[in-house]
């Protein structure tokens, strides 16, 4: 598992939406492989009878009463947005479809 290929690193970067330079990609491949080597130790542990621990303190989910709280004013909601128009967050067009058969 430590033999991380360049293609895998690029694929991960796409999944994580990270633009990496050539240098960063090369460095990442080396660093990740070096770290993953140490993760292999986990495989030594017999965990066949162990339930995964998802939370540090066992508890049940508390339920919130269905009582609406005041919303943020629109201008506050949009204030920090790099691009806001007409009460909306604005982004480059999302839809990219192609007519099918």
């Amino acid at each position: 598992m430590s033999g991380l290929t360049r293609a895998e690193v690029e694929e991960l970067a796409v999944l994580a939406r990270l633009e990496l330079t050539e240098d960063e990609l090369a460095r990442m491949q080396v660093d990740l492989a070096a770290i993953l080597v140490h993760m292999e130790a986990l495989a030594e542990v017999d965990t066949s009878a162990v339930a995964p621990m998802t939370h540090a303190v066992p508890m049940d989910l508390r339920l919130r009463k269905d009582e609406p709280q005041p919303s943020l004013p629109v201008e506050v909601a949009l204030r920090a947005a790099p691009d806001a128009r007409d009460g909306h967050f604005r982004v480059p067009n999302i839809i990219k479809t192609q007519e099918g058969a």
Binding site: E11, V14, L15, R17, P52, T54, H55, P58, M59, D60, L61, R62, L63, R64, K65, D66, E67, P68, Q69, P70, S71, L72, P73, V74, A77, L78, R85, D86, G87, H88, F89, R90, V91, P92, N93, I94, I95, K96, T97, Q98, E99, G100, A101
Partner: protein
């Protein structure tokens, strides 16, 4: 023969649905801001909805109770401990970069939902799972840009997933109707498809008739009306058959249904490749459904649509098509039950049903009103039918009275009293009038007695005219026959 019919000769469709239903909570699933259709864009957000740094989800109790109602109604296995998971994908209407959903430990599994088949009878459809999740915001597209409104982001949804065992586009549409009916009975959603409160993705594949192996499926997304479910699935069946008949193969892909163009489009997503990377949500401990919560849900379960249908047919001797019409909306079924109760006799059920489905249904339909807005109450309908039953008014007069009740909201008894609409059914009174009519029309009397039977209607009409339509048709007919013979 249509293209679809040709396709269906060789190919058997296998259809599974994933239906999202927005739960009718007041606040969001994991955030405290309100849910309100039609509010100005981005006016219903809070730090959690905006996924501001440092915010955390909390879970709405009402959403759980509503999902449990659906779980109980579909006889699902309900997990004592289920879990929320993060489903990761980057999209501007998904503020956290993940959706809180349920993955390998959903709330409900192995349920069933009965659908009504158009040709009569029912089919029991298996539900693989029902799970809770949050809705995304909305994006609208304007030229080079998309505009994002997060008002809907975080609204609670249940996703209902069927086994791949719907056999036709009609069955798919019927499933949607059955689910729509069910959630409205349960009071857990308005399920207004025009408002996007119920949405459907359909997985469609074809297999050669007589074969067992499932074909490659395509997923149709963005189906938002009953009519479109049928159209979209039919279109997809024809599309796949065309490819397969031409020696091609089906690509496993997601296709977007465009209702305006009546066609589907492949969503090419290589650039935005996603691996959902499900992760048990570390911010949300396991969801525990305990005894008191379940007891409360069970205690408040209403009579469900199919039970109601059975009861209407069994107890009231209704014909199935009429009973199906009455159970379509819970308010309509309740109206019918209330009318029977107000009337006091089950034997009047068919008459009441006829009045409700025909006269009332017609008037409401004409005016675009729902049964909840009906100016005619169940007590009104019951009173009207009683007035007919006891001969106070004729069926024909009743229609006039109904129109008056519908327009003014006044009770039938009051209208009858006010307008002196009481039917004349005293044979002595009617005989007196009949004799006057006969005296005024000697030629017609002679002709009738000479064998011109068709003139009978003339005499009935004349008596009616003389009484302003109040004479009992039955009594008038009896009296005239006797006098004219």
């Amino acid at each position: 023969m249509t293209e679809l019919a040709t396709a269906l000769q060789n190919w058997e469709p296998v259809i599974g649905l994933e239906v999202h239903v927005q739960l009718a909570t007041r606040s969001k699933a994991f955030a405290p801001s309100a849910i309100l259709f039609g509010a100005p864009p981005n006016s219903l957000t809070d730090p959690v909805v905006l996924a501001l740094p440092g915010t955390l989800p909390t879970f709405n109790k009402a959403a759980l109770e509503m999902a449990l109602r659906l779980g109980v109604a579909t006889v699902s296995k309900i997990r004592a401990k289920s879990r929320f998971a993060r489903k990761h994908y980057f999209y501007p209407d998904s503020p956290k970069g993940y959706q809180i959903s349920q993955y390998d430990e959903p709330l409900c599994e192995e349920g069933v939902l009965d659908i009504l088949l158009p040709e009569g009878g029912r089919k029991r459809v298996k539900l693989t799972r029902i799970h809770l999740e949050e809705d995304a915001g909305k994006s609208s597209h304007a030229g080079a840009f998309s505009l994002v409104d997060l008002n809907r982001a975080g609204a609670p949804l249940v996703e209902v997933v069927t086994a791949p065992e719907l056999g036709s586009a009609e069955e798919a549409a019927e499933f949607m109707r059955a689910l729509h009916r069910m959630v409205r009975y349960l009071g857990i959603s308005e399920a207004d498809m025009e408002k996007g409160q119920m949405r459907c993705d359909a997985n469609v594949s074809l297999r050669r008739r007589g074969e067992d192996r499932l074909g490659t499926r395509a997923e149709l997304k963005n189906i938002n009306s009953f009519r479109f479910v049928q159209k979209a699935v039919e279109h997809e069946i024809a599309r796949q058959a065309r490819i397969l008949d031409g020696g091609g193969t089906i690509v496993q892909e997601t296709r977007l249904w465009d209702a305006d163009r009546g066609a589907s489009f492949s969503m090419r997503s290589k650039e935005e490749a996603n691996d959902y990377r499900y992760l048990p949500d570390p911010d949300l401990p396991p969801l525990h459904v305990d005894g008191p919560l379940m007891m409360n849900v069970m205690r408040t379960m209403p009579e469900l649509p199919m039970a109601k249908l059975d009861r209407f047919v069994r107890d009231y001797d209704l014909r199935e098509p009429e009973a199906r019409q009455l159970i379509e909306a819970p308010a309509l079924a309740d109206y019918f039950d209330a009318a029977i109760k107000a009337h006091g006799s089950d034997r009047a059920a068919r008459t009441l049903a006829a009045w409700i489905t025909t006269e009332l249904g017609g008037a409401l339909n004409r005016d675009g009103k729902s049964i909840e807005d009906s100016p005619v109450t169940p007590a009104h309908i019951a009173a009207l039918v009683k007035l007919i039953d006891d001969g106070t008014i004729s069926g024909k007069m009743a229609k006039t009275v109904f129109d008056e009740v519908y327009t003014t909201g006044t009770s039938p008894d009051a209208i009858v009293a006010r307008d002196g609409l009481r039917q004349i059914s005293d044979p002595v009174e009617i005989e007196r009038i009949a004799l006057e009519v006969m005296a005024a029309s000697p030629k017609q009397v002679t002709a009738y007695r000479a064998g011109k039977d068709t003139l009978f209607g003339f005499f009935v009409g004349a008596v009616m005219k003389a009484t302003g339509g109040k004479a009992s048709p039955q009594v008038t007919s009896d009296v005239l026959r006797r006098l004219l013979s």
